[in-house]
Symmetry: C2
Subunit: 150 residues, 2 copies
């Protein structure tokens, strides 16, 4: 496999996986496109209507997400639509989307403000996601550190 950013542009911090991920999907719209794809959106117009994004920007973001292997574009059966579907790598962003969602639920709403909720197949809210150490105990940022590779 070969992972690249757009031609002529470079990674912000080539050795850091967080930075690479931000380079790929860390703009105002990409993650919301992915969120809507996870919620069933597949057509250009569908993304456009759900997000209220400018059409030229949507065109650009869909193209980049396809380029980066996060979405797959194909002709829909009726011939006048295209279908955008999450690739395996795109579906694998589910964990990150859930983490951002849960943080938002905890910190981006006033206590009495309503917000949408992510539920499992039985309509039950998901448990909170939390990093664990190898010993199975919850791990905090201070208890971990980044090991740089040569």
């Amino acid at each position: 496999m070969d992972v690249t950013l757009a031609a002529g542009s470079a990674w912000t911090d080539p050795a850091c996986p967080v930075a690479r991920t931000v380079d790929l999907i860390g703009d105002r719209w990409s993650l919301l496109i992915i969120r809507d794809a996870m919620d069933g959106a597949t057509a250009f117009t569908e993304f456009h209507q759900r997000l209220g994004i400018a059409r030229n920007i949507l065109t650009d973001r869909l193209r980049k997400l396809v380029e980066h292997g996060i979405l797959d574009k194909s002709a829909a059966t009726d011939g006048r639509r295209h279908t955008y579907r999450l690739t395996e790598a795109g579906q694998d962003l589910f964990t990150a989307v859930v983490a951002l969602r849960q943080w938002g639920e905890r910190h981006a709403f006033a206590p009495d403000e309503p917000h949408s909720v992510l539920v499992d197949g039985h309509g039950r809210e998901l448990p909170e996601l939390r990093p664990l150490g190898q010993d199975g105990a919850p791990l905090s940022a201070e208890a971990s550190h980044v090991r740089k590779t040569v």
Copy 2:
């Protein structure tokens, strides 16, 4: 508590926690500032040097992160520095940072490309983070859905 975006701007999608989180930290730099804060950075110059960000943009992002309750700014003891520290809400982004990091490790590097690694206090790599249903079984995007609130 009262959560707000900058004066004069509105939430992209007020009911969605993912969208609110993206509105707060979904730009090219904020998440990397948070990453470096988690890795021990506290001073303006430190962030500037690690990130290679323009100084005026860094000023703006630090101010916004403080405004949003993610960083806390205080005068350092030596009198000529300021200290930026993650608030509790900021530390709580650890889960999201780990999720984005792990996705990057899996999908943003070629198999032979080296990258930095996040390790626990004993130098052991973290296990993979994965959303679970209430029954404790791994949950995929298709097996879940967003319940909208009125």
